[in-house]
């Protein structure tokens, strides 16, 4: 299965991936309209300091702790992709606690959100990968 | 309009040739006939022939055929020749006045030998000296033009259709073991006698059909070695290339063909051992003598003919045989005109030379 991989060697810490992610999941067709004067809730986040940066997003584990721990069954695995049904999420945040990689976060409505590889939005392929100027995030089979 | 020498002249054409492998002599009648069915391949602005073995009585002497504009240029040229050559015979080339051929210049023929004292003073071999003399006359003596300079061979050419040119020069009265012929369709000249083909230097003569795209690359390279492309025609530069490769570099006919119409690198890649090395070497060393663009040529030389097409075979050329004779022409019709029963007619592949030699001792 193709997954999103990050290579910190080439990550510039420009944070473009965060904005591309937020835009892709906004459901809108214009980035300015979607993100202007708003706090963004991207599903990928750049971590790091002055010397190193890297993007953090869901690794779509084969044996995911988050799915096991979800109390409402909102998290599930569909064809290897860990997806979240936000209707079912009650915002207990257990998944955020158990994820060893820190890849799950809350959206503006305090509901859990996570990377679903842009398979459910209009981008069709991971927007973070497409917008990365330095190939620091790639979408590939490994 | 500008004449040959003032502007580059490309042209399309008809060529034809015949050779007897046994060295049997043929009159020029048959080769004239071959040009009749290809009449439309010429436009009346040039025709010509080369015959080999036609001067058996003077075969030790270089036969210079020279056009003169007038007697002033003739006197100048003759006095220049006398300084360094022994002239054993000087005469008008016999012609027949016909209405189709007009504006006839003075046409002279000389059988000459370079003085040995001159050769030893200049430390030159005979051929180099003769070639230099021809270049010098053509460059420096205004109104004089040497258009044939080999031994026991001669070029006959004029402005007109080739079949008329043949009659004009009374070629039925000459006998040779090989003949080449050319009908010219130039696109850029009012026609000039010296610009007709064949083009010859020493015993090499070339008839050529095509317009080569490599012309200036070839010209600017070959001019490094003392040649001067006065006429700016393809035939001229190809003749010099052949003279340079064969006489001065000592390449064989096949090797020469491998330079002029070098195999593609992809073909060379597939060769093995020495062949691969040799093709690579020749193509690398003489890269500027590769001739591209459409051409079919027949090279005449003492004792043989070589026919060669460009690498992509962009011009027609067929070969046929009958008994001891081999025929080459732009069209099969021309071969049939010479020998209706010719066999083994084939079109040689691009870049594959067809070499026909007269048996040793038969010429």
């Amino acid at each position: 299965m193709k997954r999103v991989f990050v290579n910190e060697k080439w990550c510039l810490g420009c944070h473009l991936c965060e904005y591309n992610c937020a835009f892709a999941n906004s459901g809108l067709d214009n980035m300015a309209k979607a993100l202007k004067d708003k706090k963004i809730y991207p599903r990928i986040r750049i971590e790091g300091d002055e010397n190193i940066n890297y993007a953090v997003s869901c690794r779509h584990c084969t044996d995911p702790m988050c799915v096991k721990s979800c109390i409402t069954g909102a998290l599930s695995i569909e064809d290897g992709v860990i997806t979240i049904s936000q209707d079912k999420c009650v915002g207990c945040l257990t998944c955020i606690l158990v994820c060893p990689y820190g890849c799950i976060s809350q959206n503006e409505n305090s509901v859990a959100q996570k990377c679903e590889l842009c398979l459910k939005n209009s981008a069709g392929e991971p927007a973070c990968v497409k917008g990365c100027p330095n190939n620091a995030i790639v979408y590939e089979e490994r | 309009m500008k004449l040959e020498g003032e502007v580059r002249i490309p042209s399309g054409c008809a060529i034809s040739a015949v050779i007897s492998k046994e060295g049997n002599l043929m009159t020029g009648e048959n080769i004239i006939k071959s040009m009749i069915p290809m009449h439309d391949r010429s436009n009346g602005l040039g025709g010509g022939f080369a015959g080999y073995g036609i001067y058996p009585d003077y075969k030790e002497y270089y036969a210079f055929h020279i056009f003169y504009n007038d007697n002033i240029s003739r006197n100048k040229c003759e006095s220049f020749l006398k300084d360094s050559f022994e002239i054993v015979k000087a005469e008008n080339i016999p012609i027949k006045k016909i209405p189709e051929i007009t504006d006839v210049p003075l046409i002279w023929r000389y059988f000459v030998a370079p003085l040995s004292s001159t050769l030893s003073r200049l430390q030159l071999d005979e051929k180099t000296y003769v070639a230099r003399t021809v270049t010098k006359i053509n460059n420096e003596i205004n109104g004089a033009y040497v258009f044939s300079s080999g031994k026991n061979m001669g070029v006959f050419k004029a402005v007109g259709f080739p079949e008329d040119v043949g009659r004009f020069y009374r070629l039925d009265e000459y006998k040779g073991y090989s003949w080449t012929a050319h009908g010219r369709y130039p696109t850029n000249t009012p026609g000039w006698w010296g610009g007709a083909h064949p083009f010859a230097l020493l015993d090499y003569s070339i008839v050529h059909n095509g317009e080569i795209s490599s012309y200036d690359a070839n010209r600017r390279f070959i001019e490094m070695f003392g040649y001067k492309c006065n006429l700016q025609t393809d035939t001229e530069v190809i003749t010099y290339i052949i003279d340079y490769l064969m006489r001065r570099q000592g390449l064989t006919l096949e090797e020469t063909a491998n330079v002029i119409a070098a195999p593609f690198w992809s073909t060379i890649e597939k060769k093995k051992g020495f062949d691969k090395e040799k093709y690579t070497y020749l193509r690398t060393v003489f890269s500027s003598l590769l001739v591209t663009g459409p051409f079919s040529i027949v090279l005449g030389y003492e004792g043989g003919l070589m026919a060669l097409n460009d690498r992509l075979k962009l011009r027609s050329m067929v070969v046929g045989e009958k008994d001891d004779k081999v025929y080459i022409a732009s069209e099969e019709a021309a071969i049939r005109a010479m020998e209706p029963n010719a066999t083994n007619i084939f079109a040689p592949a691009g870049g594959e030379p067809v070499i026909v030699k007269v048996k040793e001792g038969k010429f």
């Binding site: 510039l12 330095n134 | 690359a217 070839n218 490094m224 593609f264 590769l290 459409p294």
Partner: protein, 501 residues
């Protein structure tokens, strides 16, 4: 301020309707032009720092940015141009020589644009490169004057060492130090994939790049930085750099600040010391000295490597080239006055040397006049911008072209011409690690491969249109060229006819 104040050259135009204050521009600008003012909640710009490298423009996700030329100009004056006056101000303030980067930007004649190429119509056929073979391979190096045969009459096929190129293009010299590790890696990998050569420049060869040796030309310049026996033997050829088109007659100076880490090791000089290449080679004060260096290098490499001598195109270039051709060199590289540089004194760059087109035309003719054109190959550079420039150069008589500026453009360079600051936002002309990493060689090398491959296609198309199916038949084929907008004298030097003739 006051007398020293010069109004910024550029203005940053930010479309407030589009700006989402993502801060990408701020994070990407090494010149610190952009800044988010948290109190005002707006992005501010310090335009005085902007060099118009377009990094922010290219990365802005909402296309909210553009950089425009400032319209705050001095009073118009045809004699005293804006830039001339400002240069006076700068020098009055600093007392220093002005420095510039990349090639001469002044409106001097670009002869490539005045030369037009022929095509076949009716009398001979154009050739379709998609259907017929079309050959672009060249061999660079000395060719023998006379065929030799062994006792059996077989041709002796040994040639002097050659560089075989599938397409007559090479990447010209750019040193490690003047450009980044990642730029070098991109060039080296692209050269290997394309089967061509890149050139180390005079900064030595980083240990990681020895594996690209067969596609590397190692340079020996006046500073001799990084030169040792293994280095000389590592490449496909050795280039003696006598001069550079952007700065003929002067040496080079890589400031100590850039001599850090691997750059210092590769150059074999202490960290922090200035790398100063003298103007002349101090062992070459004349042509006979050059001959000695050529043969010293041949000795050091067992006569296995062709020796290139690179010179800047200057007034008597034809005589110089003739001398080099007789010095034992296998290849002459000529660099025209529009060639690039990582840093050069502005006055030198903009006023010294001559256009490569004229230099090439006269050198090729001179070597032919002397009958020695086949003894040496000719490589030209100094602003070869596109495939048609290559075709024109070959038709004028070059064997191959050197490209560098176009290669850098492929790597992301936006020709802001401030390489000398070392703050290249595209990760090319810099040694700052956080900037160097902006050039990912995986991307860079592929773009270089794409560029040369695209040019090769175009060269084939142009050749095919001329009815030429091998690049050899194009070399020196000046009949394929016509001039427009040229004087009689220019046409005479190019030895071409005017269009319509």
């Amino acid at each position: 301020m006051g007398i020293e104040y010069i109004y910024p050259e550029f203005e940053v135009v930010r479309n407030a309707d589009r700006c989402i204050k993502c801060g990408v521009c701020q994070r990407q600008c090494a010149n610190e032009v952009h800044k988010l003012d948290e109190d005002l909640n707006v992005m501010l710009s310090d335009e005085a720092k902007c060099v118009n490298c377009q990094r922010c423009v290219a990365l802005c996700p909402t296309r909210a940015l553009k950089i425009v030329k400032s319209d705050c100009r001095l009073r118009e004056n045809a004699n005293w141009s804006d830039s001339t006056i400002k240069e006076v101000y700068k020098q009055a303030s600093s007392g220093a020589v002005l420095l510039s980067s990349m090639g001469n930007p002044n409106p001097l004649p670009v002869y490539w644009d005045r030369i037009l190429i022929n095509a076949s119509q009716v009398t001979n056929p154009p050739i379709d490169p998609l259907r017929e073979p079309m050959e672009t391979a060249v061999f660079l190096g000395k060719k023998p004057e006379k065929i030799q045969r062994d006792e059996n009459g077989k041709i002796k096929c040994e040639l002097a060492p050659q560089i075989k190129l599938p397409v007559p293009i090479m990447f010209s010299a750019m040193s490690y130090g003047s450009i980044s590790y990642n730029a070098h890696e991109s060039l080296a990998r692209a050269a290997r994939e394309l089967g061509i050569c890149y050139n180390t420049g005079e900064g030595g060869l980083h240990k990681d790049f020895y594996e690209y040796g067969p596609n590397t030309i190692v340079q020996v310049a006046s500073g001799r930085f990084g030169v040792h026996e293994n280095y000389l033997n590592a490449g496909a050829a050795i280039e003696i750099k006598m001069g550079q088109g952007a700065k003929p007659g002067i040496g080079g100076h890589l400031p100590g600040a850039k001599i850090v880490g691997d750059v210092s090791k590769t150059r074999m000089i202490p960290e922090g010391s200035d790398a100063i290449s003298p103007a002349p080679h101090h062992d070459i004060y004349s042509i006979e000295d050059l001959r000695q260096l050529v043969f010293s290098l041949k000795e050091a490499t067992n006569y296995k490597k062709p020796i290139i001598v690179k010179v800047a195109a200057v007034h008597n270039i034809a005589a110089i080239a003739s001398g080099i051709a007789r010095s034992g060199a296998d290849i002459i590289a000529i660099d025209g006055f529009r060639g690039g540089t990582g840093a050069a004194p502005t006055r030198i760059r903009d006023n010294v040397g001559i256009p490569i087109e004229l230099a090439l035309a006269s050198v090729d003719q001179r070597l032919r006049d002397e009958g020695i054109r086949n003894n040496v190959s000719l490589v030209v550079g100094g602003s070869i911008r596109c495939a048609s420039d290559v075709v024109k150069a070959i038709a004028l008589g070059a064997d191959a072209c050197y490209i560098a500026t176009s290669a850098l453009l492929a790597l992301g360079c936006h020709l802001c011409r401030t390489c000398q600051t070392g703050k290249c936002n595209w990760g090319i002309a810099t040694q700052r690690p956080e900037l160097v990493k902006r050039l990912n060689p995986d991307i860079g090398y592929q773009r270089l491969v794409n560029l040369v491959t695209a040019w090769q296609h175009e060269i084939k198309e142009l050749m095919g249109a001329m009815g030429i199916n091998s690049i050899e038949a194009l070399k020196g084929n000046r009949l394929m060229l016509r001039g427009v907008n040229m004087t009689e004298k220019e046409l005479e030097i190019f030895n071409i006819s005017h269009a319509g003739e």
